[in-house]
Amino acid sequence: MSEKNNRIPFDENNYTHNIHRNNERKLDRRGFMKTLVGAAGVFAVSSLPWGAVAAKELMGLSEKEYPHKKIADLNKIGIGEAVDFKFPGEHDDALLIRLSEEKFVAYNSACTHLQCPVFWVKEEGEMICPCHHGKFDVESGSPIAGPPRRPLPTIEVKVENGAVYAVRVKRYES
């Protein structure tokens, strides 16, 4: 009878047949290696959507055209002031800044660090991100301080019939 009880019915690698104490082999070498392989699997699976969207983006061709969108009337924006608007989609926050009589710049206002909304500080002449104090240059949108490493995407604007319109989102030059 005891002979029978001691027999291991079949070979398997779940370690349940040699536990002598509670939790004795909770995480041994093999168990840890299994976790590593599992983690590699999770990385593989979670990088799939990125690849898929990138492939779609590649095929969907570069310069996307969105319908031009009116941002604001010219006489409503003073020099050195900023207006929030949405472009290209309803959920993409963007920021228009009037630098001089003629000069307008617009950027996608989601910080390139972790997507916090960037705002314009007139007194300092900089765009500042409230989350980790990233700073961006107004002229070019490139990061000048803090954690962001990538410039804000530029939105091309044009002035027409006394109003400012958003035309398209510029691509990064590579």
Binding site: M33, V37, S46, S47, W50, A54, E57, R150
Partner: protein
């Protein structure tokens, strides 16, 4: 060097590569270099079978060792 150690360290390297590739992939994606992003995605996918292979090989080797004892 000890085979067990080699297997173990190769798995650690696999995971390290995963982390590096993922980081690069996300950054290149954001920079709109979509082809490079896809390349890193594929690299990330390739690492998994390699890790699995190392794991299986380790399993086999330890079995052989056990029998030899």
């Amino acid at each position: 060097m000890n085979r067990r150690l080699v297997n173990f360290i190769s798995l650690l390297i696999c995971l390290f590569l995963n982390i590096v590739f993922t980081q690069k992939m996300v950054h290149q994606f954001k920079f709109e270099n979509y082809d490079v992003a896809i390349m890193y995605c594929v690299l990330n996918l390739i690492v998994f079978p390699i890790a699995l292979f190392v794991f299986k090989r380790d399993e086999k080797q330890s079995e052989v060792n056990r029998r030899e004892q």
